[in-house]
């Protein structure tokens, strides 16, 4: 039982990171019907920025919450900028082209960021250790279940960020603009919604959350490498599909399910299935409920 609960706790903290990334996929898809394959690379760069900045803020790096938050904030800011430029330079020129062009461009941006980061004078191909800004300690032990300070921080911050996002989307004019644009871009523009601004804003928000996810991953599993975004991005993408792509609460649920599934697979089956489970889930979802958990099945009129 204790083992089960322990897996549950670990799964939730991993799942909340997937949820943060999945939300970014879902937002962009909701607005542009585009799978932004470069999203995983933004996560990776979120970690890379942290790796660069931590020693700049404090040298030598010592565990401190203040430093952690400073690095988190700076990395979110930089990734927000990055997201803005990705949309501005790569996707906006293709706004009116067929969807397949945008999709291929997204893959191109993803590969570009991966290999650009691997350049020797940028980051390099060799994995590096992420500076330890929070020294892991068990803060809470109950019936054999250990909860670490890291897990508390990650889950707490992830959910706070997602609640803020939910608030922005449902209670502010920008969120209303996002929802209007996602339903009908043309009509939204006719009602005076600055569509381009709203789309930029969506990318900025999504990328900021991705940066937070990157920072959390690197803090929990202290390794940074240029390829780390691929698998994270893929799994979060599966999470978004599982929850119903384009649906924000769905993405959160999908992320949590993915985290739990992965953790339980590792715990009860074998850690070699860690990645296989994600894609097994994807196949099952596509076979039995292609619209996802919260997605609506669209009936096509003939």
């Amino acid at each position: 039982m204790a083992q089960f609960l322990q897996h549950l706790v670990n799964g939730l903290s991993l799942g909340s990171i997937y949820a943060l990334i999945a939300v970014g996929y879902s937002m962009v898809y909701g607005i542009l019907q585009l799978i932004n394959f470069a999203h995983g690379e933004v996560v990776m760069l979120g970690a890379v920025f942290g790796f660069w900045l931590a020693p700049k803020f404090m040298y030598p790096v010592e565990p401190s919450l203040g430093l952690f938050f400073a690095v988190l904030g700076a990395s979110m800011f930089l990734c927000g900028l990055l997201g803005f430029f990705i949309e501005r330079l790569a996707y906006r020129p293709l706004r009116k082209s067929p969807r397949i062009n945008c999709l291929i461009t997204a893959i191109g941006v993803s590969l570009f960021l991966q290999y650009f980061t691997q350049l020797e004078f940028i980051f390099g191909a060799i994995p590096q250790t992420y500076p330890e800004m929070i020294s892991q300690a068990t803060v809470f032990s109950f019936a054999g279940v250990d909860i670490s300070n890291l897990q508390l921080i990650v889950v707490g911050l992830s959910f706070s960020l997602m609640i803020i996002l939910q608030f922005v989307v449902y209670k502010t004019k920008l969120g209303l603009g996002m929802r209007a644009v996602s339903e009908n871009t043309e009509v939204a523009a006719l009602l005076g919604v600055p569509v381009n601004k709203v789309i930029s804003f969506t990318f900025i928000l999504g990328s900021m959350l991705a940066a937070a996810a990157g920072t959390f991953v690197a803090t929990m599993y202290p390794k940074v490498d240029a390829m780390m975004g691929t698998m994270l991005g893929m799994k979060a993408f599966v999470a978004a599909v599982l929850g119903g792509i384009g649906n924000l609460p769905g993405a959160v649920i999908g992320g949590l399910v993915m985290g739990l599934a992965e953790e339980f697979t590792v715990g009860y089956l074998s850690s070699s299935f860690r990645d296989a489970i994600a894609f097994a889930i994807l196949i099952l979802v596509l076979l039995f409920r292609p619209a996802g958990i919260l997605g609506k099945t669209k009936i096509e009129k003939v």
Partner: protein, 267 residues
């Protein structure tokens, strides 16, 4: 000043001249109709006016401002034109109130910063636009349905909401694209009163596309007739009724036409 002034407007799609050399105007506080057979280019003309298509020739002025080079949202915000659609295009999954709030984008001055850190300012401005929107809904007696999801409204109310949503941008000219499409006689009559009410209340110019002759003849002070992308007639309803070109455009031939002529006379 004229609410709308179009000069020699034309657009070409490849070899097809969908609209050519159209000049028309709508005065402030005037109800003008635009009729024509299917495929005459009426909706294309609306798309040109609202910036969805860019014209090949000619110019469009609204409220004295040339719309050339402006995108749709700039036309809405700076030239004060608003439209409805032939097939209803509400935000189906947003509530009635939110549909009206979408246009508040230009009226609101808070940013993300104040949402997170200056909540007082954010709350006040959010409250203000909500009150304004509710007031607008009240004028059109939709306030009791403010929280309903738009797609659950009855058809007539959806049409109405589309007009209210257009009015929420505070336009000086309103474009209605077949507002009576799919309505029964009773609903059409209500719509007629609604359009008149909008004109009286807001003193704006209105340009209506409609196939329902009874509706357009009863509503408009002046009518333009479009056929094959060109204006073929202009005048008051009674002049249009007896215009030979118009009858020909609707019929193809002038004789054997009692049925259509009686249609032009309002059934």
């Amino acid at each position: 000043m004229k609410a709308l002034e179009i000069k020699n407007l034309g657009i070409q799609f490849g070899g097809l001249k969908a609209v050519q050399n159209v000049s028309l105007h709508v005065n402030e506080y005037e109800l003008v109709g635009l009729i024509g057979p299917n495929g005459a280019g009426k909706t294309t003309l609306f798309n040109l006016i609202t910036g969805i298509y860019k014209p090949t020739t000619g110019s469009v002025e609204m409220d004295g401002k040339n719309i050339a080079g402006l995108s749709s949202f700039e036309i809405t915000n700076e030239c004060f034109g608003a439209r409805t659609f032939q097939n209803i295009r509400l935000f189906k999954d947003l509530s009635v109130l939110e549909n009206v709030l979408v246009s508040s984008h230009k009226k609101i001055d808070y940013n993300l910063w104040s949402v997170l850190f200056d909540t007082q300012h954010y709350r006040n401005s959010e409250k203000k636009i909500r009150e304004e929107a509710m007031e607008l809904l009240k004028i059109f007696s939709l306030d009791s349905k403010a929280d309903e999801i738009a797609k659950n409204l009855p058809y007539g109310d959806q049409r109405k909401l589309e007009i209210v949503r257009a009015m929420s941008t505070k336009p000086k000219i309103l474009f209605l694209d077949e507002p009576a499409a799919g309505m029964n006689e009773h609903e059409t009559l209500q719509l007629l009163n609604l359009v008149r009410f909008v004109r009286e209340k807001y003193k704006i110019g209105i340009l209506v596309i409609e196939h329902d002759m009874k509706f357009i003849m009863g509503l408009c002070e002046r009518i333009y007739v479009l056929d094959h992308g060109q204006l073929i007639a202009e005048g008051r309803p009674e002049e249009i009724r007896s215009n030979k070109d118009v009858i020909k455009a609707y019929l193809g031939e002038e004789e054997t036409n009692t049925a259509v002529r009686s249609n032009l006379h309002g059934r």
